[in-house]
Amino acid sequence: MAPPPQSQRSSSPSQPSGKGEVADVKSQLRNLAGSRAPGVDDSKRELFKKVISYMTIGIDVSSVFGEMVMCSATSDIVLKKMCYLYVGNYAKVNPDLALLTINFLQRDCKDADPMIRGLALRSLCSLRVANLVEYLVGPLGAGLKDNNSYVRMIAVMGVLKLYHISASTCVDADFPAMLKHLLLNDRDTQVVANCLSALQEIWSLEGSTSEEVSREREILLSKPVIYYLLNRIREFSEWAQCLVLELVGKYVPADSSEIFDVMNLLEDRLQHANGAVVLATTKVFLQLTLSMTDVHQQVYERIKAPLLTLVSSGSPEQSYAVLSHLHLLVTRAPFIFSSDYKHFYCQYNEPSYVKKLKLEMLTAVANESNTYEIVTELCEYAANVDIPIARESIRAVGKIALQQYDVNAIVDRLLQFLEMEKDYVTAEALVLVKDLLRKYPQWSHDCIAVVGNISSKNVQEPKAKAALIWMLGEYSQEMQDAPYILESLIENWEDEHSAEVRLHLLTAVMKCFFKRPPETQKSLGAALAAGLADFHQDVHDRALFYYRLLQYDMSTAEQVVNPPKQAVSVFADTQSSEIKDRIFDEFNSLSVVYQQPSYMFTYKEHRGPFEFSDEIGNLSIGTESADTVAQAHRVEANDKDLLLSTSEKEETRGLNNNSSAYSAPSYDVSSVPVPTSQMSELAISNPSVPGNAPQSGFAIDDLLGLGLPAAPAPAPSPPPLKLNPKAVLDPTTFQQKWRQLPISLSQEYSITPEGVAALTTPQALLRHMQGQAIHCIASGGQSPNFKFFFFAQKAEESSTFLVECIVNTSSAKAQIKIKADDQSATQPFSSVFQSALSKFGMP
């Protein structure tokens, strides 16, 4: 209880605070520090409370650090808690001060009261000061063996905190092994649960560097551990149950009877009052039965009722979370909810985020039997006061129409929308009618009659206007006024702000010209002139293209502009099935809410110690979670693939040939039925064959010159990269470098079928890559997942490249992460690596 000598305190590094209050508190605290008068704790409490409240509102009270520590010598637990809170807040910014607190925290860790032991240990581990870790090991070790479960539970989390401050200290003290022991032996379930969280995190971070650890991690998913946890699951708190269930979802049972055992054991979890447990159980059921089609379907039936109840009871946020998951399920098995569509009808005062999801659900579950009811309901929303929802509803009707074969009734409804004479309804409906006509040209007669009555003046939104103009061009034969409406639109060219609309206007007037030449000729001339003078590059280019096309040959021009069209049978899905599968693998996480796999929204640069968290549980999920590339990069990578495939050989020869890296696709313009929206691409590719373009009366030479940069210019080719065929690197250096260097490139490549066939053992690829001066330092895995670590060195200097390469032969994909001493050389190296990989398996 004796406070440290006053003299020492007075030299504490407390700056004079500008704020009178703080200085006041400081002196009061100092007076109380040594006092043992009765009631002193009460006065301390008042002061501590004041300090904490200053801290909370953002006043810097770090200057009273010394005094707070002095006053902490007390048996009063609330005082202690406040003091711990204070210390935890300021320790990180004042590591020197933090050292002062170690002493009393360590002492409290040995207190007779388990509450104090626990709280002190928690604060000690929360200091987050790297040079104090040595003081943590002792108390943590004792805490893990404490006879009170409260202390153990905190100690387990403390180990994880220590790991994040200093991984090596944590591992060297053998804490993971102690956690494993507690996981399997502790009586208290919260201790077990915390062990599970901590070990999963530690092992997944540690896993990529050591074989031993990855074996340990597999033990978590072994039968005895899983069964041990399953048998105790009822004793766990609801959150801990979620944790266990998440783990069980990754377990791979040996046979189907085991699968049924697990499901029978967990059946009652679907009746748990906490929705989180229900969702976690759902995930287990779905994952376990993935390979058993029949049972998988039955699972959908079984989980339906609990999930629907969760949607209709509880908070809107709960409905939102559960609906996101239902939406994912319904895209995988549309039939399951087709008779329950009424559950997705919107209530009047639901928040619009719930309504939006419900509309998506209604779209997804619509089929032959329920379309009529669903569309009727959606039409009620279209007249709703909530405009965004009304719009969404109309779009939903459109989506359903595009899914269905029997669209008779829906078309009528859409046409009714057009007659409602509300601007936003008309706008949405126009866009839909356009899409509908592309799929069902047979409805043109009915639709055009109605569309013809719409005054273009009432349509202002660019998308809707573009749709209307498209219809005017496409059906100018059927619509009496088409040329004249177009004419008036062209007259107002200057007032049209949207480039999209102007592009459509150009195309429409061209189409109309070939169908009704005499009436359109004048407008066509006006449109082309306006287009050529347009400041927007695409509009200008398209006008120029049409102009030359007309000069070149009228009939060819007609073939380009008005080719016989095929009805679109299926509109492209925006998401690949692979991405959807990945989201499904991450069921019950943010991925489902965002409708994106986790690698698209978790960024590595902030992860700090997580940088190596490549794997969790299994290869295929784990590697993705560490992937930094956002969607844009991914697309870019794909593009590159396309480009490279034509020019690969040149690149490997020396990467010198500039023009061949991008050779303009030489397709026959007249024979390709290109949808109008892609016309701009054609316009761009045209100038690259200038020999064919007839000279026009305009001064177009400079225009030609302007046209070219619009084409995706090939990247300036990098200097040739030569690799040292006899490079050497010892494993320790590799590991060190791998830890230090940031990932400079992360990509996914496809592997040729020949390559997949040749990759029966890892060795095959090793030998092949060695031939390309890329050496392997470690490899492992079994079909279909292989993992390799490669390295290579530049021939002339000792700059090293490190590569992690994960190959999945079933999807024929390789995921590559490159780290390099010389970041700038990553790109050429990546090309070399990729070309080496692509030659694998070739004779």
Partner: protein, 428 residues
């Protein structure tokens, strides 16, 4: 990996941080506050924003309660649903501690709030969230805390939701069977959706470690016991129990047996999707006599047995937002115009079964209307009511046995009530 939360924020209605707890040190309060303030500023109606948002690598999940936002921030791919449930649980805990969760109560009790945040979550992983258990070692009134602190004993207990050593002079249990009826009627008068959500709400004031057993007229159970179903047996769909109920036991022989927590809790919830006849039917006719005069005629009919009576009936009829000078007459109850919600609210204290009542209202409308008139409201008629001593499903408590080793006699009190849930008729 079930991701961990980086930090938990309590924000005021303008999105400013009241209190926050940093668990993992990888998000900044300033950034979170700035982001969230912007988010709620740009939204006309903040409640319409998705409760999950992503900004610059950080996922924010939030809920609103009174004038407080509760928000988590995380850099990992965490379990979204579970966190939203967790936030609601935090609200429950705060309500238990401070009666009501609002800005004021947080400001007044920030020390306790910090303590609670520390115990409910550690390093981003949820820990104890049972208010009853927490209140054993975190006391609200720090000054009067003379009793020595105990670490949560429940941890070592097999029964984590109940502590030992509870004493009551009079041992009583109150069981309320509450059913709420959700109904949606479309403009043609067809019922397009109806279901019943039921809950058995319990309040227990029992000493020691009582063992309870509840018997319902559950068809599966009665048939399993080979009992001829005397009277009505019911089929319950999708039953969910409080964690105290031994689920395995229920799976085996449909017995509901449990050691109850102390105080109020929901023992069980269930849902029935059988079509129910609307208990109160409302029809409305709108007549526009001239450009500036409108008349609304509302008929309300009770469609349940005469021996039951609905109480606190409230019928909300939407009216045009620019209506003025209401003149209302009713055959029962009172009606008032509520301009703030653009509705006419008709209140009937007591509405016997099998009866019909009328309301007639006349409004004046401005004779000049704007060219750019906002689209007409299409709000439904909404009805609220309670019918005591009656359940739609016909569920009945056959017995509630309470056995404690000290052998005291406990009194069980059972009540039934049916209420309107989401009760909407789109008839105008």
């Amino acid at each position: 990996m079930a991701g961990a939360v980086s930090a938990l924020f309590l924000l005021d209605i303008k999105g400013r941080v009241l209190i926050w707890r940093d668990y993992r040190g990888d998000v900044s309060a300033v950034q979170a506050e700035r982001f969230f303030t912007k988010l709620i500023e740009k939204e006309v109606d903040p409640e319409s924003h998705d409760p999950v948002v992503h900004d610059n690598g950080v996922s924010y999940l939030f809920i609103q309660h009174n004038n407080v936002y509760l928000m988590t921030a995380s850099r990992q791919n965490c379990n979204a649903a579970s966190l939203l449930f967790f936030l609601h649980r935090i609200v429950d805990v705060f309500k238990h501690y401070f009666e009501e969760l609002e800005e004021e109560s947080l400001r007044d009790n920030f020390v306790v709030v910090y303590e609670l945040l520390d115990e409910m979550m550690d390093f981003g992983y949820p820990q104890y969230t049972e208010a009853k258990i927490l209140s054993e070692f975190i006391k609200t009134d720090a000054y009067r805390m003379e009793v020595t602190q105990r670490p949560p004993m429940a941890v070592t207990n097999a029964v984590s939701w109940r502590s030992e050593g509870i004493r009551y002079k009079k041992n009583e249990v109150f069981l309320d069977v509450v059913e709420s009826v959700n109904i949606l009627v479309n403009s043609n008068g067809q019922i397009i959706r109806s279901d019943v959500v039921g809950a058995l709400k319990m309040r227990t004031y029992l000493s020691g470690m009582p063992e309870c057993k509840l018997g319902l007229n559950d068809r599966v159970l009665l048939e399993a016991q080979g009992r001829a179903t005397k009277g009505k047996a019911i089929d319950l769909e999708d039953i969910k129990f409080h964690q105290c109920v031994r689920l395995a036991r229920f799976e085996n022989d449909r017995t509901i047996s449990f050691v109850p927590p102390d105080g109020a809790f929901d023992l069980m919830t269930y849902r029935l999707s059988t079509q129910v006849k609307p208990l109160i039917w409302v029809e409305a006719q709108i007549e526009r006599h001239s450009k500036s005069r409108i008349e609304i005629l509302v008929k309300a009919r009770s469609q349940f047995k005469e021996r039951s009576t609905a109480t606190n009936v409230e019928i909300e009829v939407p009216v045009l937002s620019d209506a003025t000078n209401p003149e209302v007459r009713t055959s029962l109850g009172s009606a008032a115009y509520a301009p703030e919600s653009d509705a006419l609210i008709w209140k009937i204290r007591s509405f016997p079964g099998g009866k019909e009542y009328m309301l007639r209202a006349e409004f004046r409308l401005p004779s000049i209307t704007a060219e750019e008139a906002t689209p007409e409201r299409k709000a439904p008629i909404r009805v609220k009511f309670e019918i005591p001593y009656f359940t739609v499903s016909g569920i009945q408590v056959r017995y509630l046995k309470i056995i404690e080793k000290s052998g005291y006699q406990a009194l069980p009190w059972v009540r039934y009530i049916t209420m309107a849930g989401e009760y909407e008729l789109r008839l105008i």
